[in-house]
Amino acid sequence: MTAWMTLWTILLAGGALGMVGLLLLVTAGAIRELKESLAELSAGVADSSDSEQASP
């Protein structure tokens, strides 16, 4: 019982701490990357607006 419960406790604590860490570390960078992606997509929309073609 002790080994199993130790393992499960580590997993539960890891999940909780991991989620907190993820929120702190990823959020700001993800917002910056979203702005960059949208800028690239805007450029792509402008480029592709006249280039529609059929494909099989």
Binding site: M1, W4, M5, L7, W8, L11, L12, G14, G15, A16, G18, M19, V20, G21, L22, L23, V26, T27, G29, A30, I31, R32, E33, L34, E36, S37, L38, E40, L41, S42, G44, V45, A46, D47, S48, S49, E52, Q53, A54, S55, P56
Partner: protein
Amino acid sequence: MQLFDTNFTSLDWGIVVAYLLISIFVGIWANRYVGNIAGYLVAGRTLRIRLALATMTGTEIGLVTVMYSAELGFTQQYASLYLALYELAILLFIGLTGVVVYRLRQSKVLTIPEYYEKRYSRGVRILGGVMMVTSGVLNMGLFLKAGSLFLVTITGLGLGEELGLKLIMTGLLLLVLFYTVLGGMVSVVITDLIQFVILGSAMVIVTLFVVSEVGIDGFSEVVTQHNGYFDPTSIDNPSTEKPDDGIGPVTLTAQFVVLVVALMLWPTGASRTLAVKTPEIARKLYLCSTIPFLARRSLPVLWGIGAFAFFHSHPGLNEQFQAAMAAGGDINTQAAMPLFLAKIIPSGLLGLVTAGMVAAFMSTHDSYLLCWSGVITQDVVAPLMKNGLTEKQRILTTRVAIVVTGIMLLVWGLWYEVSSNLWQYMAVTGTVYLAGVFPVVIGGLYWSRSSSAGAYIALLGGLTGIMALVPCTEFLNQQITNAGLNFALRSEHVMLGSFAFSLLGFIAGSLLFPDDRSADSLAATEETEEGVNQ
């Protein structure tokens, strides 16, 4: 205290409605960024590591994930955490080695069936697309019901009314359809990022309240006083009176096989792999995903265990809950966690938590709807059209497919009564696709003798997975009993049989009916030069 008492007030409704309005606005706003099918389906492959990780988390922590994990926590307590352990180990392995995902991203395809055509033939692509959508829609069939059950039980809205659950299911579906149809992957990425923040915060808040309510001693008493289940290698679940209804070696094996293939090749995860900038980012994405995947499996299990401890320490409530389940209505073991949260989280925070869960519901639904409809357009309809489809026709077809798929989900969700736990249903329906895709993709990437004939056999072999649904295994067991045999077939036996059948069929078909490689590679080269699929 009564079973359906809740702290949910008009303040909480205000928070949830404000969140929904923001989602609708984002759907409309994101439409301006959709210029072509690559922009619509994979956001133009512009995603970098943090954004991909945040959106993958938003997608993979769905409300259905929360519901089935919490249900397992309630019914199998700590032992159900073996799934979290499996996911952690498998993701670490994929993230460190890049096995499968690196080569798949290198192939520069939009979808997995597109890879089938590149490696095998157009027929394999179309069949693969049909099998993927069949499995995916079946798999998604109970998402609406599980999500609506959460909302009904936590808000108290429509409880006990015949139409309450159905109306909420319909309303949620319409909302998701609205902004997925409008914005495609661009709106999915933006809303997934918002949902990642709200959902992540909600998960941390709920965990703090659950631990505070139950206490460390309460979690310990689950095992020491309430016969909680903690050893998954034992087939007997001590918290129930029924013998041999726990996990055990066969289930452990079947779930390991399912998770290995699902984590590599489940279409929604793969679509995120295919949407990142480079193969190296695809590999890193898996390595970084270990954290959110661990959280999605472990935290809701903790809430389920908390609900188990809570109901056992409130015998009156437990009696009411057992009576509600026995009455045969909408209340089942999935409802334990939201009923528990509705009583321990104060008003205001409960609105934020519910908005987080609605976010979880929508982020999964939009990605899944987009994924299946993208496959219908790119891998079934377009290859069947003699003159192909223009970009505008592809986007229109995808939007129509989203609506049709949504209607099918609503009908299935209203009609099908799940007779096993929710995760079991998900694993079984997933097997229909996973059993076939495993040998076809991995063989295609790593075995030069893989052939189209082998791929056809493997993909069709996945259909045998349907026999693992509980009504089918009950029918098979009846036939076994009638034949006088002393053997009880479990869903896991059928799932493992499906994987074995597809794998062996793939190997035999490839060896017996090899492809004409020279003709295949010439055709593939010509198609690539013509810019097919883009």
